[in-house]
Symmetry: C2
C-alpha cells in the first residue's frame, strides 16, 4: 500500500514554503517590480485559461506541435500553482488540477515516443530529457496546489502521472539516471523532487545516491564530478548556464526538506560557487562564447534568473542584485520577492567581476579557464584564456586560445557556434554543417595551427585525454599573468603560452603581451590567427592584395572557408604591426618572431553556398617552416575616434619597439613607448618561486625570482 502524501507534512514545501509565500505576497503589495512580474505571468495564464485544455497524444519531435504543447503544459502547471499560492484564487488550482487529470488519463497508455532517436526516449517527448524537465516543472505545481486537492484527485494524479513518470525516469532508464551527465542531473532532480512532495523516501534516496543507493552515482556524485572545485563546468559557459538549472532547483528542494544535509555547504559550497562562477563567465552581460555557444546568450537567461533567486534567498548578497538588474525578470519565488524588494529599496551593490583562474576537471587538474580583467568597471579590458579540457562533444579544438574584450566590445573574437537557434530555414535551427567544418576547427580560433590541421586531428574523444597544464598565474597592481603548456594536441609538439595584461600610468590603456613558445622535434608550417573585430586602418607590412579575383586558402580543416584577401611581407628588420578601429578606439597588434614570416589577411565566407557563416576576418601570422620558435605580440588599445565632434586622438601606436631576447631556456621581451619608458618581461618558466635567475641584456644584468619578472626602465 502506498501513502498519498506524507501525513502532516506541510505544503508547499519544495521551491516554495509557506514563508516564501508570505514573502511573495509582501512583495506583491510593496514592490512594483515584483508585482509587474507576477502580473505578467498572470496575464499569460489568464489568456491560456480561455482556451480548451490541450494534452495531445505524443507525435512530434522537438519543435513540433505536441512537443511544444507538452513543454508549455509543464510550465503552465507550475505557474498556475505559484499563482494559486500568491493570489489564493481557486481557479488557478483548478486549472492545474484539470491539466494534471488529462495527463492522468493519457500517461498510463503511452509507450515509447514514436519519434525516438539515439537519445534515451521519453513518452511525452522524443527524448527523456524533456520528460525530466516536465516533471521538474509539474511537481512544483503539484506541491503548490496539493492542499487544494481532495484525496481522490491526489490519488489519481500520483498513481497515474507522478509515480509512473518517476519510475520511468529512474528504474525505467537506469543508464541515463545513473550517468554522470547533465541528463542524469535532470532525471535525479525530477525523481527526487517528486519523492519529497509525495513523501516517497525511496525516490529521494535513489535521486541522491543512485539507483543502488551506494552513492557511486546520483545527485551528490554529480555535484562532485560535473563541476571543478571552483564551480566551472567542462562544456563551457553556454552549457554551464543550462546545466545549472536542475542543480540549483534540486538543491533548494533538499534544503527545504532535509536541511540537515546542508546541501549548500556540500563540497565547499559547490552549488553557490557554480552560480557565482556562471556570472563571472561573462563580459558586458554576455557569456564568453567558447565551445558550441550562441553568442547572444547572457546573464539574462531564465536559468540564471532562477539561480539568482535561489542564491539571493540563501545569501542575501546584494552584489547579486546588480546581476538581477541586468535581467528582464525576477523569479516568482521567495528569493525572487526578496530580490525585488531589495532592488526597489536601492540596495544594489556592483557585482565584483574578478581576475581568476578557474581550474577545470572534478579534481581541478585538467587545465583551467583563466580570466584577466583590468578592473571591474564597465568598459574594462578582459582576457579569456582557454586552457581547459576538451569539454566533450561540444568542445572546440582551441587549446590555449584567447578572447580579448575592451570598451564593451569583443575585440579579438571567438566565432562561437555556427547555428541560428530555432530558425527553421537554417537546418531546422540545429547546428549547421559549418559548425563542424568551421566553428570547431583550430584555424577558427586564436591559437596555433600546425600543418593546417586541427588539434587532435579534430577528434574530440582524443581531445578528452589531454589537457593543458597551467604553469603560472599571478596578479599584482601592474601585471596579471598566466602561463600554460599544452602537450600532444599535435604529435611531437608542445606549445607554451604566456599572456600578460600590463598596466602603467604611462600607457593610455593596459596592454597585452602574448608569448607563444613552440617546441617541436620536426619542421612544421605554423599559423597563428588573430580574429579581430574592426576595420583595418594601417599596417606596416608590404601588402599584396587580391583585387579582381580571390581564392580560398585551403580545402579542409576550416581553411576552405577562408578567402585570402591579401598577403603581407614584413619590411626587413621592422616590427610588423596592424592597427584597426573598433567602435571609437584603435587597436594595434605589434608582432615579432624569429623566423621568416608572412601575414595572411583572410575573410570568412568561402565554400559557404548557403550564406551560413558570418562575414568575419583574421590576420594569420604564418611561419612556413619552423621548428622551435616563439611568436611574440603586444596588443595595444589607443586613441579616440570621435567623428561626432570631429576629432581623432592617438590614432598612432605609442609602442616604439618590441623585441625578443633569448638566453638559453630563458626569454626576455622588451618594449618601449614613444615617451621613452622601457618594459622588460623575463621568463624562466621555472615554477619554483624561490629560485633566482639571471640574464644579461646588453650590459644590464637582470635577476629575478621565480617564473617571471616585469621590470621597467625610465
Amino acid at each position: 500500500l502506498v501513502s498519498f502524501g506524507a501525513i502532516g507534512k506541510d505544503h508547499p514545501s519544495l521551491i516554495l514554503t509557506s514563508s516564501d509565500v508570505k514573502l511573495m505576497q509582501e512583495g506583491y503589495g510593496k514592490s512594483p517590480l515584483f508585482r509587474t512580474n507576477v502580473d505578467r505571468v498572470q496575464r499569460e495564464l489568464d489568456a491560456e485559461m480561455q482556451r480548451p485544455l490541450a494534452v495531445p497524444v505524443p507525435k512530434d519531435a522537438g519543435g513540433g506541435y505536441t512537443h511544444e504543447q507538452h513543454k508549455k503544459n509543464g510550465r503552465l502547471i507550475m505557474n498556475a500553482g505559484v499563482l494559486y499560492q500568491v493570489s489564493g484564487k481557486q481557479k488557478y488550482a483548478d486549472f492545474a488540477a484539470n491539466l494534471f487529470l488529462k495527463y492522468a488519463a493519457l500517461y498510463p497508455s503511452l509507450g515509447e515516443h514514436p519519434k525516438k532517436k539515439n537519445q534515451a526516449p521519453g513518452r511525452l517527448f522524443w527524448q527523456s530529457l524533456n520528460e525530466s524537465v516536465w516533471l521538474v516543472m509539474a511537481i512544483q505545481g503539484y506541491d503548490a496546489i496539493y492542499k487544494a486537492l481532495d484525496h481522490r484527485t491526489r490519488q489519481n494524479i500520483e498513481l497515474n502521472v507522478l509515480r509512473p513518470m518517476a519510475d520511468f525516469l529512474s528504474v525505467g532508464q537506469p543508464k541515463t539516471f545513473d550517468k554522470i551527465h547533465n541528463h542524469g542531473t535532470w532525471a535525479a532532480a525530477a525523481v527526487g523532487m517528486t519523492g519529497y512532495v509525495i513523501g516517497e523516501d525511496d525516490y529521494v534516496e535513489k535521486a541522491l545516491l543512485g539507483l543502488d543507493k551506494s552513492g557511486k552515482s546520483g545527485f551528490l556524485k554529480q555535484l562532485s564530478l560535473l563541476f571543478s572545485p571552483e564551480g566551472y563546468y567542462a562544456e563551457g559557459p553556454y552549457y554551464q548556464r543550462y546545466a545549472l538549472m536542475p542543480f540549483v532547483l534540486f538543491a533548494q528542494a533538499i534544503e527545504t526538506n532535509q536541511p540537515e544535509r546542508k546541501i549548500f555547504e556540500y563540497r565547499n559550497s559547490i552549488v553557490m560557487k557554480a552560480i557565482y562562477t556562471t556570472v563571472q563567465l561573462s563580459y558586458n552581460d554576455l557569456f564568453f562564447p567558447i565551445n558550441d555557444a550562441i553568442k547572444s546568450k547572457g546573464l539574462d537567461t531564465m536559468e540564471l534568473v532562477s539561480g539568482l533567486a535561489i542564491a539571493y534567498g540563501m545569501s542575501g548578497d546584494n552584489q547579486l542584485l546588480d546581476i538581477s538588474a541586468r535581467q528582464k525578470r525576477v523569479a516568482l519565488t521567495g528569493g525572487g520577492a526578496k530580490i525585488a524588494l531589495a532592488r526597489d529599496a536601492g540596495k544594489i551593490v556592483p557585482f565584483q567581476f574578478k581576475t581568476m583562474k578557474l581550474s577545470d576537471g572534478a579534481e581541478g587538474d585538467e587545465g583551467a579557464l583563466v580570466i584577466l580583467r583590468s578592473s571591474d568597471k564597465p568598459g574594462h579590458q578582459a582576457l579569456v584564456l582557454k586552457n581547459t579540457s576538451q569539454g566533450m562533444g561540444h568542445g572546440h579544438f582551441d587549446k590555449l586560445s584567447w578572447i580579448f574584450y575592451d570598451n564593451g566590445q569583443e575585440i579579438i573574437t571567438d566565432y562561437g557556434a555556427a547555428r541560428f537557434l530555432n530558425v527553421e530555414a537554417k537546418n531546422g535551427g540545429r547546428y549547421l554543417p559549418e559548425n563542424k567544418s568551421w566553428a570547431k576547427q583550430t584555424i577558427a580560433h586564436n591559437t596555433l595551427v600546425v600543418d593546417e590541421t586541427s588539434h587532435f586531428h579534430g577528434k574530440w574523444k582524443d581531445g578528452q585525454k589531454k589537457s593543458p597544464e597551467q604553469l603560472a598565474f599571478d596578479e599584482t597592481e601592474t601585471i596579471q599573468l598566466s602561463s600554460a603548456v599544452m602537450r600532444g594536441a599535435y604529435e611531437g609538439v608542445a606549445m607554451t603560452r604566456t599572456i600578460a595584461l600590463i598596466k602603467d600610468p604611462e600607457l593610455e590603456f593596459p596592454v597585452t603581451l602574448d608569448v607563444l613558445k613552440v617546441d617541436a622535434t620536426q619542421p612544421h608550417l605554423y599559423d597563428l590567427p588573430v580574429h579581430y573585430n574592426g576595420q583595418l586602418m594601417d599596417q606596416s607590412v608590404v601588402l599584396k592584395s587580391a583585387t579582381s579575383g580571390m581564392r580560398a586558402l585551403g580545402d579542409k580543416n576550416g581553411y576552405e572557408h577562408l578567402w585570402l584577401k591579401a598577403v603581407g611581407t614584413p619590411k626587413e628588420g621592422k616590427l610588423a604591426r596592424f592597427t584597426w578601429l573598433t567602435d571609437n578606439r584603435f587597436y594595434t597588434l605589434n608582432t615579432v618572431s624569429e623566423e621568416q614570416s608572412q601575414f595572411l589577411f583572410t575573410e570568412l565566407g568561402a565554400h559557404d553556398p548557403n550564406f551560413n557563416l558570418r562575414r568575419e576576418q583574421a590576420i594569420i601570422h604564418r611561419i612556413p617552416k619552423g621548428e622551435k620558435t616563439i611568436f611574440v605580440s603586444l596588443l595595444e588599445p589607443h586613441g579616440d575616434y570621435n567623428p561626432a565632434v570631429e576629432y581623432t586622438l592617438g590614432s598612432h601606436s605609442q609602442i616604439k619597439s618590441l623585441k625578443l631576447h633569448k638566453r638559453g631556456s630563458y626569454q626576455a621581451i622588451t618594449f618601449t613607448t614613444v615617451f621613452g619608458k622601457r618594459w622588460i618581461l623575463t621568463l624562466s618558466y621555472d615554477q619554483d618561486k624561490q629560485k633566482t635567475h639571471q640574464i644579461k641584456l646588453g650590459d644590464k644584468e637582470i635577476s629575478w625570482q621565480g617564473f617571471y619578472s616585469l621590470q621597467t626602465v625610465e
Copy 2:
C-alpha cells in the same frame, strides 16, 4: 577717424545680452545640468590658462600644429568671454584680452598663408573659411569682455585684429564674400557680427546685402537661396548641420541688434525651419547618410547644440528639450540656460518626428527629400526617398534611391562617405579614393543602374542640371505614398518610382511596396541593387555560389569593388524572395518583374588593396535585356529572433503572393498574406485628383480617383 565701439551701446550684445547673462547665472545656481556644462568649460579653460600663450606664426595646413592652435585660440577667447560674464572673474577677461593682444602684434604683419591652395587663402589659416570661423568665435569673446577693457586696449584690438580681418574677409576677397555658398555665409556672419560689436554699420550692411549693398548677394540673399522653402539644404543633412551654424549665430546677432529686421520671421521663418528640418533629417539620433556623409554624425553635433539653444531661446518649444536630452552638452548661452532649467524641471515633450516631403531648391522645384515614418515612436519604420537635386560636388549619383530604417537600425543602407575623419593613416583623414570610385557611384545605392554606368556618367555638373519631379505625396492612416519621376539621368531613359508604406492590423509590421517603372527607347542592361544590413537566412532562387574562387563583378563605375558571391535564378513562375535577419527581426524582400531576371549576391571589397571599404553586401536584381519594364518589390519585416530565451517566432514571410497587373498605362499590384487578406494598389500616374480611372482585374471592376488607390479584399 574711426570710433572705437558705438558710444552708449550696451555690451554684451551679440549672442549674449545682459538678460542672457542673468539667465545663465540663474542656471548656474539652480540647474545641476547647466552648472555641469559651465564647470566643464571652466576646467578646460583653467587648465589652458596654466600654459604660456601660444600664438604662432602661421605655417601648417589643416591638422598641423599652427592650424590647430589658432582654431583653439578662437574657441578659448570665446569661452573666456562667456566665463567672464557668468562668473564676473577678471582673470578670464584678462586671458582673452592677452590672447587678443598677441594677435594684435602678429596679424598686421601677415600676408597670405604659406600653405594656400585652390581655396580662397586666409592669413592665420590656409583657407579663409577657417579665418571666418575664427572671427565668429573671437568677436563673441570680444563682445563679452568689452566693458572690462580700457580704451587703448580696445583701440589696439580693433585696429590691428578685428578691422583688418573683417576687411580682409569682405573687400579683401570679394568673390568668396559675395558667393551664394556656405563659405560666403561664414564670411558674412564674421563681418556682420564684428560690425555690430564695434559699431561699424558699413560692415553690417555689406554682410546683409553684399559688398555693393544691393541685396543681390549677402546674408539675406543666402537665406533666400541656400535653403529650400521647407528649410532643406541641397547638399544633404551632413552638410546642412555644418551650414546651419553661421546662419543661426548671425541671425541671433541681428535679432539682438536690429530686432526691427524681424530676421527670424524672414522668408516664412526660414532660420527656424532649417533648424527643425535638420532634426527631422535623422533616425535614432543619426543623420540620414545621403551624399558625402560620415555615418556617425547625428543630433549630438556641436552645431546642433548651438542651433537648439537659439531655437529654444526664441520659441520655448519643449519638444526641443527632447533633442537636447540626446546631446551631451548644452550651449553656454541664455537659450542654453533656459534649456537646462526646463530639462531639470522635467518639461521635456517628445519631439514629433513626422512624415514629410521637403522640397529641394530655392524655389522648391528641384525635386524633394521624402521621409515616410510609420509612427513617431522609438523603433518606428522610416523611409528616406532621395528625389532631390544633385547637391553639388558632395552629391552622390543616387537619383530616386531609398534608405529603410526599422527597429532602431538601418536595414536597407546607404554607404555614406568613404572616409575616416582625421585618421592620418587613411589618406590624412580626407575623403578616400574609394569615395569617388565606390561611394558616389550609382551601383552603391538602392536605385536603378543602366548599362553598368552611373547617373550622368558620374559628372556632378551635369547632374546639377536635372532634378526629379515629385508626382505624388500622400499620407493616410493606412498608406503613405510618394511617387517621383527622373528623366535624363540616362539618355533616353525615364524612371518613375512609387514607394508606399502600408499599415494594416493584419500585418505584423507595416510593409513597403516599391514600384519602379522604367521607360526606355532602346534595350539596356538594368541593375537594381538592394544594399541590406543583416545575415541572409533564406531565399527562393536557385543559387550558384562561388566556393573556392570569387571574381570582381566589373572593372569600373563601382562594379570593380563588388565580389560576386552567388548568382540566383528564380524558379519559374515563382516569386523571388530573400529573407535576412537584422538584430532580432527578420526581413523578407519579395520581388517580381516582367523580364527574365537574375539576382547577383555581392560583397564589397574587391580592388580595395588598402582595406578602405567596409564589408557590406547587396542583392542586385538584374534584367540583362530590358526596355520598358517594371520592378516590383515588397519589403516585409517579421518575427522575433530571441536566442536569449530560446524562442524564434515568425521566421517565415507572411506574404503568399505578389503580382503585377498591367492595364495600358495603368498598373495594379496585388499581394496576399497567408491569412487570406488581399491588397490592391492601383496606379494611374495621373496627378488630376478628380479624374476617375477604371480597370478590370479578373472579373472584378476597380475604379478610383486620382494618382493611386489602395483597396483590400478579405
